[in-house]
């Protein structure tokens, strides 16, 4: 039974990672920007959700406010900073790195250094009996939410006009522009949406994993491993990579607590050697 519980925990964590990796991967796929601020979007989003939850007690409101606020911050960063260095990888990476530090220090200033948890919404406070154990309902909710968002993103990408533009932009931004697609607007929208997804991940993670200074780096690293394993620019890769890394990390933590990261990094190293572009990446 403990195996089932570990597996479910792994999948739930994988879903959170997917929310980060999807944005990271699409942003890279479209604009070739490696967004190091992505972990900060997750952490600051979580903190904003925490504050809203403390003030109003509404988890839904916490999700909405965090997504909007971080989406707006993302749009500003893309429009006024990253845009100046279009397709110039190093300065863009350095800028996102700078913002990573700025957000890390500001959130330490505002929310302090102690790990904090968001109280989980009342309806999911129960647990489901599972053999000799009781499994928290909230984690099952996480899995469902993750699957719903993954499905929605896939549907959006395959079946909407904006999704078609996105795919065209990922394939070749220049040609897409020549065909009359407003690539400029698309860039800002995708960057903001990716940021908002990371913020949603932060709020959803709040009741399970605590929010603490350094969570930005820790989640960024795991999101990197997810996109290295899955391949940058692919939604499918982000989902497969996130589930794999979520499971590996969870089993690693329960079996080899001192070397937890190894169970994640050894498979990453193997995939790099065998398939450097990741499972679903393109050359």
């Amino acid at each position: 039974m403990i195996w089932v519980i570990d597996t479910l925990n792994g999948i739930a964590f994988g879903m959170l990672l997917f929310l980060l990796a999807a944005g990271l991967s699409l942003i890279y796929g479209l604009m070739k920007i490696l967004n190091l601020t992505h972990g900060s979007f997750y952490l600051v989003g979580g903190y904003i959700g925490l504050t809203v939850m403390q003030r109003t007690g509404s988890f839904v409101l916490a999700l909405i406010v965090a997504a909007l606020a971080i989406g707006l911050i993302g749009a500003v960063i893309e429009r006024f900073f990253l845009r100046r260095f279009h397709l110039d990888e190093l300065p863009q990476t350095l800028l996102t790195f700078g913002f990573l530090f700025i957000f890390a220090d500001l959130s330490l200033w505002i929310w302090g250094g102690d790990p904090i948890m968001i109280t989980q919404p009342q309806i999911f406070a129960a647990s489901v009996p599972m053999g000799d154990y009781a499994y928290p309902l909230y984690r099952l909710f996480l899995i469902v939410v993750g699957l719903v968002i993954a499905g929605a993103l896939w549907w959006f990408q395959e079946h909407t006009r904006l999704g078609t533009m996105l795919r065209a932009g990922v394939d070749d931004a220049e040609i897409a522009r020549a065909l009359g697609i407003n690539v400029s607007l698309l860039f800002t929208l995708v960057f903001a949406a990716g940021a908002a997804l990371a913020a949603i991940g932060g709020v959803l993670a709040g009741p399970v994993l605590s929010l603490y200074p350094g969570a930005d780096f820790d989640t960024l690293i795991l999101a990197f491993v997810v996109v290295i394993v899955g391949g940058l620019g692919s939604l499918r890769g982000a989902l497969a990579g996130a589930l794999l890394v979520g499971l590996l990390d969870n089993f690693g933590k329960s079996f080899f607590p001192q070397f937890a990261l190894f169970t994640v990094f050894v498979p990453m190293a193997i995939i790099l050697v065998v398939r450097p572009t990741g499972l679903f990446g393109r050359r």
Binding site: P91, F101, D105, V273
Partner: protein, 313 residues
């Protein structure tokens, strides 16, 4: 010709100033200049990859920290002497580089950056998590400085020791950069495919550059362990890698002088800012944004473009 005499005068002046530091400054500032020298070496080692080979590593602290921890573990846990620990620390950093390089070189650009970042974080997590072996985030204090017949315990004598080591290392780096090997690296930075077509084994050149950069970073890390008489997981942290990266870019990538200047500026700023507020990380972030926006080619680049504007109206 006048330019050559000018730079000769400048170098003599710099050497004289560096030699005079322990006489002219209070011990605290002698320590600060010692730290500048150590980080100048660290930044120059990273520039071998970033500026000369065109590979942006975000995990350079790994090799720095592996050397520091080797010193601490061999001296404090194994009770060995510095005659063994010091060379062993360089071997450890070099071996780590030799193991990580093949993985990192599977990717270019952003992939290279992510992989080096992730690999360094593994090393950090060992230092942080394996409490019984490394003391975790408490670190390991009480590292004795090496004793080669005369004591290095006071700030002045340790400064001269670091000055000599860093000077020799810089000379080696200059030789590497100016050698045919160094020229080939710059060729690879400009165009991998062209160098490949000319018959160069591009991968091997990049591999050797990576391992050399790791070895020199290890030397800086070993010096730093002696300097602080302490090692802690922050030596391996991504903030350490990030500081090295901004030192190189602030000074000017692709030169050896630039990163050394960048290191001096960052070490000074960190000391100054930390004495006033606790928000060094915030300032570091702002420096990143400002440098990227206004001085993408670094301080050296600013000087060069200022001169060009003056002399070529």
């Amino acid at each position: 010709m006048t330019a050559r005499i000018g730079s000769l005068v400048a170098s003599v002046l710099v050497v004289a100033l560096l030699l005079a530091v322990p006489e002219a400054l209070r011990p605290y500032y002698v320590g600060l200049v010692t730290k500048m020298l150590i980080f100048a070496l660290f930044a120059m080692s990273l520039d071998l990859l970033l500026g000369y080979t065109g590979l942006a590593s975000l995990g350079h602290a790994a090799y720095f920290g592996v050397a520091s921890y080797t010193i601490a573990l061999l001296l404090l846990r194994a009770k060995l002497s510095s005659e063994i620990a010091f060379p062993a620390s360089l071997v450890a950093a070099t071996v780590t580089g030799a193991l990580f390089a093949p993985l990192a070189l599977r990717g270019r650009g952003s992939y290279f950056l992510m992989i080096t970042f992730a690999l360094a974080q593994v090393v950090w997590s060992i230092a942080f998590g394996w409490r019984t072996f490394t003391n975790g985030d408490d670190g390991m204090p009480g590292i004795p400085r090496p004793d080669f017949g005369w004591s290095l315990d006071n700030a002045q004598s340790f400064y001269y020791f670091v000055l000599v080591v860093v000077a020799v290392a810089t000379l080696l780096l200059v030789l590497i950069v100016k050698s045919p090997f160094g020229r080939a690296l710059r060729g690879i930075r400009e165009s991998e495919s062209r160098m490949q077509a000319l018959g160069y084994n591009v991968w091997l050149y990049q591999y050797v550059a990576f391992v050399l950069a790791a070895a020199f970073a290890g030397l800086a890390g070993a010096l730093y362990a002696y300097f602080n008489r302490f090692v802690g997981p922050e030596y391996l942290h991504v903030i350490q890698s990030a500081e090295a990266l901004i030192m190189v870019i602030l000074g000017g990538a692709g030169t050896l002088l630039g990163p050394a200047i960048g290191a001096a500026v960052i070490v000074f700023l960190e000391d100054y800012v930390s004495s006033m507020t606790q928000h060094w990380v915030l300032v570091l972030g702002v420096i990143y944004v400002v440098v990227t926006l206004f001085a993408p080619r670094g301080l050296i680049g600013l000087i060069v473009s200022y001169r060009q504007r003056r002399f070529e109206p």
